[in-house]
């Protein structure tokens, strides 16, 4: 996967129909297994803002690039038997029980902190850790791995920070007409980069 941090004008990708976990007819997931919470894509991440080919995402606040999605109000899932006796902190406790992010973040989406230290005061410790880590640009996958936060939780926390304007997110480039696959220019750049290694 290649992620140009500079972002192209079509740098957002959408999760189109037919990619859902429950669509057995088109789904490569032939076994139709239930997905982890972070996989639910019922809220397509579709750029609808007026931004055309414009300045680099670095030059503008991240909020307008991202279409906020209303937090999901879900009825609590039935607790599995024995959960009450489980002494461990449940992984989604730090997200306040939310299992879906406000926006769909690619696993390789890049995150960069724009926050000043004084803005971090009063933030949750996990949010502060992410911001501290992302003073150098990091992918969502790296945040999850380096802070040992499950991937789905990391996605939610990063989305929180983006909504608060504390991080900038650069979604990977891709040709939306081709299901988000990298376009020819990007492939050529990757090939050239690999040959120079």
């Amino acid at each position: 996967m290649a992620t140009p941090p500079g972002g192209s004008s079509s740098g957002n990708w959408s999760y189109g129909p037919g990619q859902g976990q429950n669509d057995g007819s088109q789904n490569p997931n032939r076994y139709n297994f239930p997905s982890a919470p972070s996989q639910r894509r019922q809220q397509p991440y579709a750029p609808q803002g007026p931004q055309g080919p414009g300045p680099s995402p670095y030059d503008q606040p991240p909020a307008p690039r991202i279409q906020p999605v209303q937090p999901q109000r879900r009825s609590p899932e039935p607790s599995p038997a024995g959960a009450a006796n489980n002494p461990l902190v449940r992984p989604y406790a730090m997200t306040g029980g939310r299992t879906r992010p406000r926006y769909q973040l690619a696993i390789e989406a890049l995150v960069h902190t724009t926050a000043q230290p004084h803005q971090m005061q009063g933030q949750l410790p996990e949010h502060q850790r992410i911001c501290n880590l992302c003073r150098e640009i990091k992918s969502v996958a790296e945040i999850s791995a380096l802070l040992t936060i499950p991937l789905g939780v990391a996605r939610i926390l990063v989305a929180d920070l983006a909504e608060a304007g504390l991080v900038a997110i650069h979604q990977p480039g891709g040709d939306e007409n081709a299901g988000g696959q990298p376009d020819v220019t990007l492939l050529e750049r990757v090939l050239s980069g690999l040959r120079k290694l």
Binding site: P28, A106, E108, P150, A154, V184, G193
Partner: protein, 174 residues
């Protein structure tokens, strides 16, 4: 994406060419896996995790390539669906002594349409079967490259990546 059966060398491959030591991210399956995971005999275990190793290569000032080793277990397809989107392609690592282990990955990428190449990982430097034999055994079409590699060596891993991106580029231009 780097796919293949359990123990075929996916993480080794990622580590050979990554600029960082491979990192591991975990996704938690909670009650969503009820009915799939048989938890009858595990008592209090109500969550299970699926781990995924990955590495990164900075190709240019503003271009980073991430290499994700897919979770080996077939039932974690949902993780693959996540990775396929935005992926350039996949390298399916094959241990020719356990050819059947790669069937699920080959099937998956054939169905998803993601460009892939098959890389025969020579354990102990041995390649008991040549690519033509494997092509026939796997019933792989002539368009899909089959190469030999040694996942421990950076030059081999790099060469496999170049083959994959060339193949993906050809597929896009076709």
């Amino acid at each position: 994406m780097v796919a293949g059966g359990f123990g075929v060398g996916k993480t080794t491959f990622v580590g050979a060419v990554s600029e960082i030591n491979p990192l591991r991210t975990e996704a938690v399956m909670t009650s969503a896996s009820a009915g799939i995971d048989d938890l009858t005999h595990t008592g209090d275990k109500t969550t299970t995790t699926v781990a995924m190793d990955f590495g990164r290569i900075t190709l240019d000032q503003d271009l980073i390539l991430y290499l994700f080793g897919t979770p080996g277990q077939d039932r974690f397809w949902f993780m693959w669906d996540d990775l396929v989107r935005g992926a350039i392609g996949a390298i399916v690592l094959v241990d020719t002594r356990r050819l059947a282990d790669c069937f699920p990955a080959v099937d998956y990428f054939e169905n998803s349409g993601l460009p892939f190449v098959i890389a025969l990982n020579g354990f102990d430097g041995n390649q008991p079967y040549n690519p033509d034999e494997v092509r026939e055994a796997l019933q792989i079409g002539p368009d899909t490259p089959i190469i030999t590699t040694d996942a421990r060596h950076r030059a081999d891993a790099k060469s496999a990546l170049i083959t994959l991106v060339e193949h993906a580029l050809m597929a896009r231009l076709r």
